[in-house]
Symmetry: C2
Subunit: 64 residues, 2 copies
DNA sequence: GCAAATTGCAATATATAGTTGACAGTTAGT
DNA sequence: ACTAACTGTCAACTATATATTGCAATTTGC
């Protein structure tokens, strides 16, 4: 399941995958894999992404 | 940082660490380590725990 | 006080999250 | 058409989440 909400939040902030990756301290590939739904990220990484995108866990990672 | 919210939600449901572990498909130790703040769990595990405890990600894992 | 259930804490082993580097495809700008 | 920025993907590697086993410490009910 692709994470379209995360991608939209990133684009909304006008950040590339690489820029977001740098601000949360991971590599570009990791961000790409999370957005494409091929990774099961760690909680800490999810939180870092949320803060970088001014969102909460429920906003980006909670379904239903 | 100990996850006191998760522990309270579990006790509220009258579940032992072992019972919760079984329902989410991990071992008792994993639950214990997450509650004591020594683990950085995966997103999928967080979601499974939330559903088992009738909570959301923000309820149990979001600070601030 | 005793016994059972629960939890904390090690050591070691395995699965998988995340890294690194490289290359191809796409899109936007000139 | 050319370039540059962005993204997808692959292979091999490293770091760490999670499993497994066992034992000690604590709580709770009898």
């Amino acid at each position: 399941m692709k994470n379209i909400k995360m991608k939209m939040a990133r684009v909304e902030k006008d950040l590339s995958q690489e820029e977001l990756a740098k601000t949360v301290g991971v590599t570009r590939q990791t961000i790409g894999l999370i957005e494409s739904g091929k990774y099961n990220p760690s909680l800490n990484l999810c939180i870092a992404i949320c803060k970088a995108l001014s969102k909460t866990l429920n906003d980006l990672f909670w379904e239903e």
